[in-house]
Amino acid sequence: MHPAPDHSPAAAAAEHAALIVALDAGDLAGRERDDATTFATTCAGCASLLEDLAVLRAATSALVVTPRTRDFRLTEADAARLRPSTWRSLVRWLAAPRSTVRPLAGGLAALGIAGLLLTTTPGFFGGAATSLSTTGAPVVAPGGGAEGAGGAVGGSALPNAASNAAPSAAASAAARPNGAAPIGPTASAAPAASPVPGAPGTTPGLAALPAPSPATVAGPAPTPIPDAGTVAGPAAAATASTGPSDFSTDAGAPTDSTKAVPPEISQGARSAVPATRDQPAPQDRTVPLLLSLALLVAGFGLLVANRVLRGRAGS
């Protein structure tokens, strides 16, 4: 929607005045110049304006200023104060009205606030493990290098569930010099009532703990399987849990952890253990939290410094 053209006398006079002043400055050409010249010859007001503009232009160009009353030469103190230094450059940068201080400070503060929100919101960082592990998705549990080796391979939930199922045993296995887990009668004494992973009617995930059944433990199955994460079926997992006692390679460590469940731990206790270890570790959030706080403080500090120094310069 275009505004209606203004045909009032005031608007016409303003338009004529603009043409006349442009004519006086020599900025017109072609038809505009002809129109302005016509106005200047036919309109008394336009002619008067043109004459006044010429007079004023001459008077302005002849404008005399008062003599200076100050000597602007620099003293040694001035020079010392003005010589570039790192600190002065920084202060000048902070106090400059059109420098990059404000955008930079805003960006830092925004990053800091976002970081604080992310680190303090449940579900991020360590909290993510809680939500994922309950669904049986691959999770690399913290604190167990051997467990991580098994859980990261193949994306299968089976070895991870196994790792989650026996954390204390895995930790103890990892703590041993050669990574070997106790087997034999102690391991074979694990509760036989635990469901076999992958068996019909069993639920994958934490409930499908690969606790070795007495049958699998008692079997010879001397073939070591380096990576339990590659094992697709429960039988293979059971086989892996029955590895030789001197199996001490790093790849075998996850397998050892599956059979290292202390016999005194009941299934209920085993099910309860992952819940406690899924709590986010405090040290996981410390670094991003501190980083976010540092960004926030830096951003607000820059803003305050810019404001204070500009105010001081303005006064």
Binding site: L56, L63, V64
Partner: protein
């Protein structure tokens, strides 16, 4: 250069294109100043302080503010001397002075100013030659007083553009480069400023026609 009297308009026009001897002298003084010779920089100050003061005093109505702006311009020039790469020290310094005057007026826009009270004093008259007519001197003084008052009443941007165009003799493109605005904006400021001056002085035009 120690003569504090203002230069005639002809002396301060056409800042661009200094002669080679002046340019060479300025370059030598700049190099010495960059090496730490304060006396060399002060020679440059002596050479251009009248020019800068004459320019800034026309742009800034308040005399104290004008002097502050000129001093700040020389401070800024000394501080940023390493950023000068030629070809004209005069043009470089003029740009700094214009920016200092504009910045100062923006910073102290709301502060009331008294535009050159010495012009209100009847005892002050512009410098004149020995054979000047007393009546003409009085008329010129009154004209100056009225014109300075009117210049102080228009917008600072318009005043700066008019001074640079009418007094200093820069063209549109040079003013646009100095003030950091488009060429059309420069034209518009000059046109509007002249119309504003004419509106302010409409009832005193006989003084100028005479």
């Amino acid at each position: 250069m120690d003569d504090p009297r203002p230069r005639s308009p002809g002396d301060v026009t056409r800042a661009a294109g200094p002669d080679d001897a002046t340019a060479r002298r300025d370059q030598i003084l700049v190099e010495r100043a960059l090496a730490g010779d304060l006396a060399a920089f002060n020679q440059l100050v002596e050479a251009y302080q009248d020019l800068c003061h004459a320019l800034v005093a026309r742009m800034v109505p308040d005399p104290d503010q004008a002097s502050d702006a000129v001093q700040e311009a020389f401070f800024s020039a000394y501080r940023n001397l390493r950023s000068y790469h030629g070809p004209s020290f005069r043009g470089w310094l003029t740009r700094i002075a214009i920016n200092a005057a504009m910045d100062l007026q923006r910073a102290k826009k709301r502060r009331p100013v008294t535009p050159y009270p010495e012009l209100d004093d009847e005892s002050w008259q512009p410098p004149a030659g020995p054979d000047a007519d007393p009546e003409a001197i009085a008329t010129t003084g009154e004209r100056q007083r009225v014109l300075v008052a009117a210049m102080g009443a228009i917008a600072p941007d318009q005043r700066a553009a008019i001074v640079l165009f009418d007094v200093e003799g820069y063209d549109y493109a040079e003013i646009a480069a100095m003030t950091g605005v488009s060429l059309g904006t420069v034209k518009s400021r000059i046109h509007r400023g002249r119309l504003a001056l004419r509106g302010l002085l409409a009832d005193r035009m006989e003084l100028f026609r005479s």
